[in-house]
Symmetry: C2
Subunit: 318 residues, 2 copies
């Protein structure tokens, strides 16, 4: 991150026609963007949104009340423009691409063996990296995949430890019995792979899924190009937990769009030392919370770039 | 509020291609708007933002480190397009009008007598009501006035009681000594008017200011036309405390844009039974938090109106 650009952005914030600090987190967002865009006046010329979709072998353990066909149905809905993420990208001006990853070839059931082969995992990482538009000013990330709240909880439990049930929530409509099945499947999965090296790459391969790997690939590619990222909720943030395990600084260019209702998200944000931009009782995924936060980011940069300074406006600054 | 339209909006939310409730507070905002716009598919054709400015005799008590001239300077900055509210209205597509109310004729010092005559108060109420555009889909309200965080604290202390210091914060840049002067001035003001009838209209007249009365007038006019309102932070919300004193339901059509850092705001929202849309550590005024919340409201309505239902999209809804 460019500390010189950040300092210049902070100086500008303190010269604008308002009490210093009075725009609160809008000021912090402007300074964050200045650092990653390496300019005192950061801007959003093009916001890219990527939604990755995958299917999961763990569904064989009855962890989700919906059939896996819903993943493809929702991808179709995304492509037809009928989902929440379509409306949120339109309203907040993001260019949306939906990338479905071998939906007819789910990952393997991680209670029985590794979810992905190395080749599958690398292919998904590469698909994620390749999807990034190099001219994006900011990248919004989201996911869709029946069963992937179980995958997310497995990843966070493996990376951060603690009781499995503390990472597990209801996802999309699990009842108490479904919740119990999720905890049980993850517990057996962690035991099954206890002898596997516990580095981030191995955890991603054994417990993750294609859309999780693609999100990792996109986050890494964005980092290489210093493009700031807005992650969505629990599943999206959990997807990059393996990157945090490899190097905590790997997520320094990432904002968290919103705090999900899914209880593991707060725990996860505490573990990675981040605060969400919004807290709106949402739990949809698809990148919806990240796209909503994009609108806030646009307002933050508009104030930063468009406001007059005290000197320009002839206002007494005390 | 139109309960039939609200029920229709709720039914629609539950038919859209997402788990019911998964858009959290975005869903609540859509239902709120449906009720006041009296249609199941509420929309924002035109968002109006009104910022009222006034000057205050209480400044004679040394309650503010800035000279009263700053009010007119900031109004000039609003009119030139250089303030935060200008950028936020542009980004979130609101039509901004700035209305300065007799800036060269401050109200009277309320420690010495009533801040406004009945004629002054009624003129300001009428100016606020007249400023409402009858075709507004939603009204954003804000204020500017050196010294008006003291006025706001006086209004809330008079309406809701409790210790004066619990309503007083640093406003724009008061130090400990300035804080003490604010508490002292309000305490003397309340004592001075203890014999005055404690109804909302009297409190507004004796302790309020022109921009507070104008905000009350705009809120009342909007209510008459069933136009939903987004109030800003502490000072804007405190401005309508006298309306709450007259009839708590008078604020049913109002959202609170953001929770201010000013400590009295949380206490005030608890007293009127409302939760802010955003919590962004802001304390600027000008309607900035309300304009930021407008962007969220636009996203909420875009999802509500633009999403496909499960039936339309051919997605299994369990």
């Amino acid at each position: 991150v460019d500390a010189v650009a950040q300092d210049a952005a902070r100086d500008r914030q303190n010269a604008l026609t308002k009490p210093p600090g009075s725009l609160g987190r809008l000021e912090e967002l402007a300074v964050f963007m200045a650092g990653w865009q390496q300019q005192a006046m950061p801007q959003i010329d093009m916001a890219q949104a990527l939604v990755f979709a995958g299917n999961h072998g763990i569904c064989a353990q009855g962890v989700n009340p919906f059939p896996q066909e819903v993943t493809a149905q929702m991808v179709q809905n995304f492509k037809a423009g009928g989902a929440a993420i379509n409306q949120l990208c339109r309203t907040n001006d993001a260019q949306l691409s939906v990338i479905d990853l071998d939906l007819d070839r789910p990952t393997a059931d991680f209670t029985q063996g590794p979810a992905m082969t190395e080749a599958d995992c690398v292919a998904a990482l590469n698909a994620g990296a390749a999807a990034l538009h190099p001219a994006a000013s900011v990248l919004i990330l989201g996911e869709m995949g029946i069963g992937n709240s179980t995958v997310a909880a497995a990843l966070t439990a493996a990376v951060f430890g603690g009781a499995v049930q503390d990472w597990v929530g209801r996802g999309t409509g699990s009842d108490d019995e479904g919740l119990r099945r999720k905890v049980d499947a993850i517990t057996r999965g962690l035991a099954r792979h206890a002898a596997t090296p516990q580095d981030g790459a191995s955890i991603l391969m054994t417990l993750g899924g294609r859309e999780q790997a693609a999100i990792c690939g996109a986050v890494l590619a964005a980092r290489q190009r210093r493009i700031p990222v807005i992650l969505d909720g629990f599943i999206c943030t959990a997807s990059v937990a393996p990157l945090f395990a490899l190097a905590p600084a790997a997520l320094d260019h990432c904002l968290i769009g919103h705090l999900s209702v899914e209880p593991g998200h707060k725990r996860l944000l505490d573990a990675i030392g981040k605060t969400a931009v919004l807290d709106f009782d949402m739990r949809l995924g698809e990148g919806s919370g990240a796209a909503l936060a994009l609108g806030i980011l646009r307002s933050a940069l508009a104030c930063h770039s468009g406001m007059a300074t005290f000197a320009e406006a002839g206002v007494a600054d005390g």
